[in-house]
Symmetry: C2
Subunit: 198 residues, 2 copies
């Protein structure tokens, strides 16, 4: 049984994975988004790319069987399982400006961007290095006219997505801080790491 | 009458704009895509972000009236006119690997990525700095199941998109090199710059 790591509400974590390791990201209570960013542990300038992933996978909806690709056109992770089946790879992590501009909230508000950089900065990652995240459990609906709508996640308590690292990685992971993305309440995110069997 | 600059087939250009300048990107023959990337001329670490733009504009289809946003949540350009009305902001610029992986072409092939970096490197921009481009005239259809399909551009000879710079910018622009994006043939791209009226 692998240890369950807990990310508290509106916070984040960062850690390394070795090639072959399996990361399981769990929504323990349901309806909670987790933003994930990836960096090549051996060269942090290589990182997850939504544009490359949507291009190579030829799909907006990235789930079981798809790969997450880097800006250098390399496979970073393979999605092994996805018990929920709805994730987003369109929208940037919520940031302080998200709440100022979209929510008209001029006061301090926690954000995925802040939680990513707080946890990733010890690895040498700077704020401008944070790319568009793979937003696990995030339910962004799109319509023929292009309109986007952020809806409540369809994930139930215990749903999970598991990923296998295709290279040595630095991973940033959050329990998302945005009201609209999480049906109005904030819950934790759990994760576990299974070492590769060599 | 502003000077018309010509980007030859399967090539690119890079130039500076001052805040307020108007850039007009023209498809002179029709059915030709132009990839555009933007950097803050005063701090190149700030650059165009698909994730921030799709988030703030709440739409996959970015056209007249929309803004192009940076990774720092600042407005970089406003789209003033769009006579065609179909652009893409999902897919990364075609790169050498695009042709190896998606087209199974192991030989040399020109690419937008190469043409962007060749023209932007004199400004101090490195390969890993190239973000997902705003793909002018690119026609990527998306379906309810998420499937993406690159179709012939709907642009006719003389169609154009005009943009007003919201900050001082370094711009990279191409005449796209990918067969599928341009209905099988390669054409030039034209552009003009109107200085801001101060």
């Amino acid at each position: 049984m692998n240890k369950i790591h807990k990310i508290e509400i509106q916070s984040g974590a960062a850690f390394k994975l070795k090639k072959g390791d399996i990361l399981k990201v769990i929504d323990p209570e349901g309806e909670q988004v987790s933003d994930m960013v990836l960096f090549n542990a051996k060269d942090l300038r290589e990182k997850i790319s939504s544009g490359k992933t949507l291009d190579f996978e030829e799909n907006l909806l990235i789930s079981k069987g798809n790969f997450l690709w880097s800006n250098r056109s390399q496979k970073m992770m393979k999605i092994l399982e996805d018990t929920n089946g709805r994730n987003d790879f369109l929208l940037a992590p919520c940031s302080p400006e998200t709440f100022q501009i979209m929510y008209d909230n001029q006061n301090y508000h926690p954000s995925c961007f802040e939680n990513l950089i707080r946890n990733l900065s010890p690895f040498g990652i700077q704020p401008d290095d944070i790319p568009t995240a793979f937003n696990i459990f995030m339910n962004v609906q799109f319509f023929e006219n292009g309109k986007l709508s952020v809806e409540a996640p369809t994930s139930k308590a215990g749903d999970y997505v598991s990923f296998q690292a295709q290279m040595d990685l630095v991973v940033g992971l959050t329990a998302c801080s945005a009201e609209d993305s999480n049906n109005g309440s904030f819950k934790p995110i759990h994760y576990s790491i299974s070492p590769s069997e060599k």
